[in-house]
Amino acid sequence: MSGAARQVLRSAWAKAAGWTAAFYVMTLPLLGAARALWIALGVAALQAVLISLDHLTPGARQRFRRVVAGGGVLAGRLGRMPGWLRTALPLVLLTAVAASGLGLGPYTLDVATNAGIYVLLALGLNVVVGQAGLLVLGFIAFSAVGAYTYGILGTQFHLSFWLALPLGGLLAACFGLLLGLPTLRLRGDYLAIVTLGFGEITRITLNNWNSLTHGPNGILGIPPPSLFGFTFSQPRHYFYLVLALVALAAFCSRRLERSRLGRAWVAMREDETAAESMGVPTLRLKLLAFMIAAFWGGVAGVVFASKQLFISPESFNFLESVMVLCMVVLGGMGSVPGVILGAVLLAFLPEVLRGVAEYRLIVFAVAMILLMQYRPQGLWPSSRRFEESAAETSP
């Protein structure tokens, strides 16, 4: 072994020792001496494995990273599908899911319906984050608007669910207009923070405006949807309602993606100044994306209220906004199938981790951190987003 290689190895071991000691010290106060020692040993073992790997198979780790990050294989292959297949496949999937609804038990249907509501939220957020490229951190506030619209109008004025559905969406969209007008000219990070602020202001206001919203006690006795005398009572009913809405939202997203509007959004994302110079009214289009996303958020909120039959401000907290954002990022921003995948995965996570429920959030957090390290474009990115991130990171 050459002197230089020996030097590299020595410094690697030194760093490994340093990190092991650091992790021991860091976890000691929280976990106690015994468990901290286990953690430290685990860290040491992991580093030993990595150092050995690097020494015995140099470059393998980097190659692995590239494969994981670059594997747009599935997207690529699907992108080359003939047109008829591309339209047929989602329809087939939709039929399959609808058919399965007949056979599944009520518990599974309930879980699936909840997942479906998240999918709806994620599809909405995708319009503004994935397609228009704006960072929004307080999205759940739009859901709250929809939910409370139905909650208040449904309990006090017996507003029909079927009227509340579009109304909740429209009110949420108006809310989006009000929020967006003063804020959408802000730069990326700042916009994210402002939306976070608005989200929290919404929640706190809902929590304290007792006369309108009953504050932290929430609104009880929200009427379930009813159609010609038939009232929704079983999970199966909600399942099909949500499935229909998801199909509609997905269809609308795809249509917009391929339109003049979708093209303008992509241009805006890639170079806002240039787009503006070509006559693309960027502010107006950002506002439009924001309002469309808010609409779907509101719709999801109405459905949520009609299913839970009870709402309170606690359901619309910052963590929910983060969750929906992570669904979009996990699946692949801007990609409708990706976003659906991401939402389904994260929505089913609590089910998968049923046995270790208290670890759900920490697992989620670690997963997101790792995802950003190894595959930031998400699991199933749209080919365009894939190219864009390649364009961004290459010199």
Binding site: R255, V266, D271, A275, M278
Partner: protein, 259 residues
């Protein structure tokens, strides 16, 4: 002929630096007007004021008599003043064709509901956008590259693509910011021919350039800026002979050489 684009008393000040100082310039319809001057003279700043990226500190810009200075860039583009950029600003991950299609945005109308409903009118409009874009790519000699990603195109092709994209917006005045930068003589000659063809279409061309051969060969009028001020204006021959222009470009050395 009346001035299509008239710049009057335009001043742009940034926190103590006056980049453009009381600039007057009239660009007549159907002409090719070039703006030259040493680096840092304020030429691109002037462009930015004309195209709406900056709101001028003082003075104004009129297009066919209508005031356009201070308006948003996209509004000015829609009115008919479209530009290219000194450092090429294409949409990198979009194909050449898609780039040009975006240029058609301000001349087309399909909105959200149109897109969702997919009416025959919308589909027809999309077809037209595509055909126009292909025609423009052909006009600029880029037909072969229509499906390639903009960032993968060779430099000269990227410059031409930017021009094609700008033309898609049907400008009355096409503002080119150093279109020949970094081009070899062969590419520059092609560019000259292209600009000539553009003028033949009836588009007025307002350009910033450093390539003297290009400027002198194709311009109808040349204006010279230095330190934010217009120091000369006239036909290419007049400007070439103007001692102030020579001094601005060659600076002190020329004086010292003569002394």
């Amino acid at each position: 002929m009346s001035a299509l684009l008239s710049i009057a008393g335009l001043t742009m000040r940034f926190e103590g630096l006056t980049a453009v100082d009381r600039m007057d310039l009239a660009v007549e319809e159907g002409r090719i007007v070039s703006l030259i001057g040493p680096n840092g003279a304020g030429k691109t700043t002037l462009f930015n004021c004309v195209t709406g990226h900056y709101a001028p500190t003082a003075g104004d810009v009129h297009l066919s008599g209508d005031l356009i200075s201070g308006l948003q860039p996209h509004t000015i583009a829609r009115r008919g003043v479209v530009r290219t950029f000194q450092n090429i600003r294409l949409f990198p991950a979009m194909s050449a064709l898609e780039n040009v299609m975006v240029g058609r945005h301000c001349r087309t109308r399909a909105g959200v509901f149109d897109a969702l409903l997919g009416t025959p009118a919308v589909r027809r409009e999309e077809r037209e956008i595509r055909e126009r874009a292909l025609a423009l790519l052909e006009f600029t000699g880029l037909s072969a590259q229509c499906d390639q990603q903009a960032r993968n195109l060779p430099y000269g092709a990227q410059r031409r693509l930017e021009i094609a994209r700008a033309l898609a917006a049907e400008p009355k005045v096409l503002c080119l910011d150093e279109p020949a930068a970094g081009m070899n003589p062969r590419e520059t000659a092609d560019l000259m021919a292209l600009i000539g063809k553009i003028r033949d279409l009836g588009v007025t061309v307002f350009l910033i350039e450093h390539h003297m051969n290009l400027v002198m060969a194709i311009s109808d009028r040349v204006a010279v800026m230095d330190h934010g001020v217009k120091i000369a204006e006239g036909t290419p021959e007049q400007v070439q002979r103007d001692p102030k222009v020579v001094a601005a470009y060659l600076g002190e050395e020329e004086h010292r050489a003569r002394a």
